[in-house]
Symmetry: C2
Subunit: 392 residues, 2 copies
């Protein structure tokens, strides 16, 4: 697309407005039972605690620094908090020079794409994978190689040494993956990390859902096994509030320095105001009480949806049984196209995200993603019942 006045760049012209997104806009109407969103439940937002944090900041001289420009790297106390968390949890020995605060972890994906992808750069993605990651990387015109996954997550045996050596990085979401809800097994984490080390492969470990582990039994992250080969992305969106747009990148110091340069050009720095609030909220261990409440709510909703799937779906339909996170991945019989199904489902006031959008290469048409955390139980039952009838 271009006009007589300007000409869009090649990368911008290649961006298509998504037909699926247009359909999903309809699903925001209140009478639609939407399993399409990726939103956390607003019932988990710590409104009172955030209000207290804001009052503390605004009643002191900290107000002036919270409202002023700040360093591109991020608010130092928040960076220190992040690195202490990672060092304790992952047994790493990283410093504040290994952390950059970003405007939501989506920004980290964009900065990483800018930093590492030229036209034709080979990158590895597990498949299926996060749609927003694919959209962002695609702007920089990489050549994708997809690595298949199964119920234990990405299969490192299917990653050849040749691909591992020639690719610039691997993008993976080991915990309660978007869209599948799968978790990479402990054994495979070790195997993947060993392979990365042996082949000098950089791993981009995207971990927005790691804390949403229903049993509270976290597996070590890839950065724990291979700290020099891993760039770890964390987020406050699912444990605090996404409207703050706060995430972080932890990685090798020279890599972080380059991201800082790119971030300066992208938005100077993440809002000081929200960084100060987040630090004030988390600094005294509040998340230790808060996160278990989110897990409990999400576990209950997930179990309920799994029950409804078992109750209503024909036995030709399969689905994942997540141990954490926000998503269930459904595989329909081969002949059903989930994008066509969506059009009919929306007419029946039910929505989901068709699976084909989550594939970098060779999209599978017979899959779909269900999100359960924002839908009340009676509507989950009604929605699954309707979907099952349409599939039959």
């Amino acid at each position: 697309m271009s006009s007589s006045i300007w000409q869009f760049s090649k990368r911008a012209a290649a961006l298509q407005s998504s037909a699926i997104r247009e359909i999903l806009k309809i699903t925001e109407l209140p009478h639609v039972i939407s399993f399409a969103g990726g939103l956390p439940s607003p019932n988990t937002f710590p409104v009172e605690k955030i209000k207290q944090a804001v009052d503390t900041i605004m009643d002191s001289d900290e107000a002036f620094s919270a409202l002023q420009y700040g360093p591109t790297e991020g608010y130092k106390p928040l960076r220190e908090w992040v690195i202490n968390l990672i060092n304790q949890r992952e047994k790493t020995k990283l410093t504040v020079d290994n952390v950059l605060i970003v405007t939501g972890s989506q920004q980290a994906l964009d900065l990483i794409g800018k930093a590492l992808i030229d036209e034709g750069t080979k990158i590895l993605v597990e498949t299926p994978t996060y749609l927003g990651g694919l959209q962002t990387f695609t702007q920089y015109e990489p050549e994708y190689v997809s690595i298949a996954s199964d119920d234990q997550g990405l299969n490192p045996d299917l990653l050849s040494d040749e691909d591992a050596k020639s690719a610039n990085f691997l993008y993976t979401i080991p915990n309660f993956q978007n869209p599948t809800g799968r978790r990479l097994s402990a054994e495979r984490r070790k195997k993947l990390a060993d392979k990365a080390i042996a082949n000098n492969l950089l791993m981009i470990e995207d971990d927005p859902y790691g804390e949403l582990d229903y049993q509270g039994h976290r597996l070590p992250s890839l950065i724990s096994y291979a700290p020099t080969n891993t760039v770890y992305l964390g987020s406050f969106s699912k444990i605090l509030a996404p409207g703050m747009r706060l995430g972080y990148v932890v990685g090798p110091a020279d890599f972080i320095r380059k991201l800082v340069q790119l971030k300066q050009a992208a938005d100077l720095h993440t809002p000081s105001y929200t960084q100060h609030i987040a630090y004030q909220v988390v600094k005294d261990g509040y998340l230790g009480d808060h996160i278990p409440k989110i897990r409990e709510l999400y576990k209950k909703r997930c179990e309920f949806m799994l029950e409804q799937l078992a109750k209503y779906m024909p036995n030709t339909v399969r689905w994942t049984k997540p141990e954490g996170g926000m998503f269930i991945w459904v595989e329909l019989p081969e002949h059903i196209d989930s994008t066509a199904l969506l059009a009919i489902a929306v007419q029946n006031n039910v929505a989901f995200v068709p699976g084909e959008t989550f594939f970098a290469t060779n999209p599978r048409k017979n899959c779909l993603r269900l999100a359960f955390v924002t839908v009340p139980e009676d509507r989950i039952e009604q929605g699954i019942k309707t979907l099952a009838q349409l599939i039959k």
Copy 2:
């Protein structure tokens, strides 16, 4: 720069850590009199008003939407407020489809670079111009053509029809420009807009300082003369608080739609939380009382610095006499290199930004930028006196 584990993209490898930035880091120490920063005065931050706004939001159900994911285009009431402001002030007839809220107007520059620059795309910049604009555009590898400016700002007579026709856009800061403090005259605005219309040239009108007009006598913006040829960038950083990172883009609807797609990949959306706060602060006309106080403070500081320059500088030195904004541009005798002068000045506890960084092509070495709004009067006098002695 690359490592054995990853290879930086061509655009990332080309980014240099700036020697000047390294020197300026030292100048953040409290004993240094720094005229280098581009920070607004924290005395102008409406702390009480923001606190009230936050309380109003957090005490109502609005808290949940302020903390949740939001639309990429921005918070609709804030977009409506912006477009009403522009329509009233500039006599345009634009709608909410012409507005995108961004994470500070630096992000607008990055999205515009992404949208409009391929390797070798010709773009026009007034010279000197905003360093952060140049850094951002340079990532996308344009071919720059510089248009000279004088005391009345960019000179449209020096913009050839050939360049106007072949360039993809012109980047300009008509009001109290960074770094010169100059304002484009009314006559030149009209002439430039006519030339843009005649040659199908897109103008990127960056206007962070427009409200900081000491006499409160605003000239019509370029978008007022040529709405279909102009993309206007506004900011809350200088009239509210930069730590919120809030700006906006106003332009043709099809251009805005493309920026929305790019912004979705860049950071999903600008923080809902800060957008809700800003709207709550500005919606009932608060800025009408607040902005005159900022103007008064800045005018006083500017006049004071101009007096000190007249008092201490040798008569071989020239400087601009801004009618608004935050910066004074100083021209030294041709033989003085301002970057070398900075190294000596810092040893004498005074800092500024050397002029050469503000040129896309053919940098001039004998200029420098002074910022006055955050420095108390006694320190302005002391700093200018020291600089004058070093120049002599």
